[in-house]
């Protein structure tokens, strides 16, 4: 089933065009990897999906992005509601400088998802469990989240993102600041999370894309060169540029 449908998306930073005519369908409950050399626009595209580009004054987005058949670029779309449904994990772990508990409970609090303290405790516990962090931190929920290791911080950010039960999780190079062990943990987690969430991951590591994703899109110079099942892209790409990038000839 198609969860997200991007149609002819153009993105401009001021006068400079960063994305050209991107059309891409994203399957529900699968992992879609966006790959490509630096500056190719894959992060920009990812940030279109939860309208994080709104934050940048000079950035303008054209085209349609349909999520559940609703155009999120429409004026009637409320970004607060949108971002409740579409969580995001950033490149660098960015926990709030608050306690672990406050980090995870922040989203449910502002969206009014828990009626009682007990309910909130449950949400925090399940979120941390789903993020495979519970066992490591259950005794220090009221210590600052910034005191964790890098990998733990990133899992905390994932727990924070899933605490509001988003339908889609966007991940912007979530492992680029982590060591191989932490990376492996996160990848395992992604595999687990796709049962309940649709995941779109931007990554620099082609190996990672091959490991975690079912679908892959290859971006180059602001254009979507090729997209399809990860198997096909990695084994038998249609486009010469994709072939070159995947075999490491450039990028």
């Amino acid at each position: 089933m198609i969860k997200i449908k991007a149609k002819d998306v153009d993105v401009f930073y001021g006068k400079k065009q960063a994305l050209f005519n991107i059309s891409l369908d994203i399957e529900e409950n699968q992992v879609t990897a966006l790959i490509g050399p630096s500056g190719c626009g894959k992060s920009t595209f990812l940030r279109c999906l939860n309208r994080m580009n709104d934050v940048i004054d000079i950035c303008s987005v054209k085209g349609e992005i349909l999520i559940n058949d609703f155009n999120i670029n429409d004026k009637s779309c409320d970004v607060v509601r949108l971002r409740e449904k579409i969580g995001m994990v950033f490149q660098k772990p960015n926990p709030f400088p608050k306690t672990l508990y406050e980090n995870v409970s922040y989203g449910p609090t502002i969206h009014g998802m828990a009626q009682s303290k007990q309910e909130m405790d449950e949400i925090v516990e399940t979120s941390l469990k789903k993020a495979a962090l519970w066992d490591e931190v259950k005794d220090r929920l009221h210590e600052p989240g910034t005191g964790l290791s890098g990998g733990q911080q990133q899992r905390l950010c994932i727990a924070r993102a899933i605490s509001v039960r988003p339908e889609v999780i966007l991940m912007d190079e979530p492992c680029s600041a982590l060591d191989p062990i932490a990376t492996a943990q996160i990848e395992e987690l992604i595999d687990e999370l796709k049962k309940e969430h649709t995941i779109i991951i931007v990554t620099h590591s082609m190996a990672q894309a091959a490991r975690v994703s079912q679908n892959t899109g290859f971006f180059h110079l602001g254009q979507l060169i090729e997209h399809g099942s990860t198997d096909k892209i990695f084994k038998n790409p249609d486009n010469k540029k994709t072939q070159d990038y995947i075999t490491g000839r450039f990028g």
Partner: protein, 422 residues
């Protein structure tokens, strides 16, 4: 080639050494001036914290005080103390003629009548008895006792006569002159008489001004900073505002004083010489300082925190109030305190709005006339009397102490809150 390289290397080391030397000498110079300044102030000012008292036997003669038998409390209040006060001073020299009696009277402050009255009010049983009472020495004798008075000047160039000095020396020899901690310096308002002048009025005036300034400048400045930094679009108009805020911070303070005079006093008819007007004027001056500090500390909050909150579905307002503002508060607060410390030391605008007036009452609210510490320094420094010289330094010491405490407070806030999450 090799030799060339070595020369170059040597040159670089030498340049570094020279640079270190410049730095060290600059620091040394700064410390030297600071030490001289502090030493000068302390050596001149410390004596102001001591006050000289003459111990004079006073006979509480009911007849001279116009008191009946068994006087009530009110009678004691209304009694005439001037005659017994005069008499006890005159009695210091039984052979004194009328002129000399007058000189004897001027050896103590004009407050001596009150001091004798208080003695009796404290203990009504003293009627008819004689008791040694502490009387504030005149400021000139105070200086004589502290050794600051040029006794070797010809008599006609001195305010203390040879006769007064003779009597005073006798009193000293008999142990009837004592130096005690000068409480009245902290509890009295200003006075024309140096021995009675205190900083209570100007201290309270400063406190009230600073409070008014804080209550106006802090909320306005913080809201302005939050709006400009977090909400306002970045366009020509906001650039223009930013430039003007920076310009405002550089406007000489006397201009703000003129503004206060022209607008607050002339148009709004607010009460003259009051900490209310002073505080409003100072808040105009402090506003840009706090805005700049608050904006800087808002800017210092990493954008990743904002993104994290926004991506969780927090509105812009929630992102700002839940995350950005709390994180920027330590910087904002210490900037505020530094701005207030600046305002505390400000003199020129306060002079223009009339806080330079002679105020001999202690203000009870920001609506009462008052001076402020720096203006008090200015007023005393202008006075010709010798007794005010040490008062100026003492007042500077109090002001500096106040400023140091405020800056310390700013440091503590910054440290305490920054430590929490690092």
């Amino acid at each position: 080639m090799n030799k060339n390289k070595e020369q170059l290397l040597n040159k670089r080391y030498k340049a570094e050494q020279r640079f270190r030397l410049y730095g060290l000498s600059a620091i040394f110079m700064a410390l030297l001036f600071l030490t001289i300044f502090i030493f000068k102030i302390f050596s001149t000012g410390y004596s102001a914290f001591q006050k000289t008292w003459l111990i004079v036997p006073v006979t509480f003669d009911a007849e001279l005080m116009m008191l009946d038998q068994n006087p009530s409390k009110e009678d004691l209040q209304d009694a005439d103390y001037y005659d017994i006060a005069l008499k006890s001073m005159a009695d210091l020299d039984p052979n004194a003629n009328e002129d000399q009696e007058n000189e004897l009277k001027r050896m103590v402050s004009y407050f001596f009548e009150k001091e004798i009255k208080n003695e009796l009010l404290n203990d009504p049983n003293l009627i008819g008895k004689t008791k040694e009472v502490y009387l504030t020495a005149s400021d000139d004798l105070d200086q004589v006792f502290k050794g600051n008075y040029p006794r070797d000047l010809p008599e006609d160039q001195r305010r203390v006569s040879d006769y007064q000095l003779k009597i005073f020396d006798q009193l000293v020899a008999n142990g009837k002159v004592e130096s005690k901690f000068n409480i009245s310096f902290f509890t009295n308002a200003d006075s024309r008489e140096a021995e009675l002048a205190g900083i209570a009025s100007s201290f309270m005036g400063s406190i009230f001004s600073i409070l008014v300034c804080l209550m106006i400048a802090f909320p306005v400045a913080v809201l302005a900073a939050i709006y400009l930094e977090e909400f306002a679009p970045k366009n020509r108009f906001t650039d223009f505002i930013e430039v003007n805020i920076n310009n405002l911070a550089a406007v000489p303070s006397i201009v703000f004083g003129l503004l206060g005079l022209g607008v607050l006093l002339a148009i709004f008819q607010l009460p003259r010489s009051t900490p209310l007007v002073g505080g409003i004027t100072l808040s105009l001056m402090t506003l840009p300082t706090i805005i700049i500090a608050a904006r800087a500390s808002l800017k210092a909050v990493p954008p990743s925190i904002r993104e994290a909150a926004l991506a969780m579905g927090a509105s812009r307002m929630q992102t700002t109030m839940h995350h950005t503002v709390p994180l920027s508060m330590p910087g904002t607060l210490s900037g505020t305190i530094i701005g207030l410390a600046q305002a505390l030391g400000e003199t020129a605008p306060l002079i223009l709005i009339g806080m330079v007036a002679f105020v001999n009452t202690i203000p009870g609210s920001p609506m009462d006339p008052a001076a402020s510490l720096p203006v008090q320094i200015y007023i005393w420094a202008e006075s010709a009397e010798r007794g005010f010289v040490e008062k100026v330094s003492a007042c500077i010491m109090v002001l500096l102490g106040f400023l140091i405490i405020m800056n310390l407070f700013a440091q503590i806030i910054r440290h305490k809150f920054e430590k929490k999450w690092s």
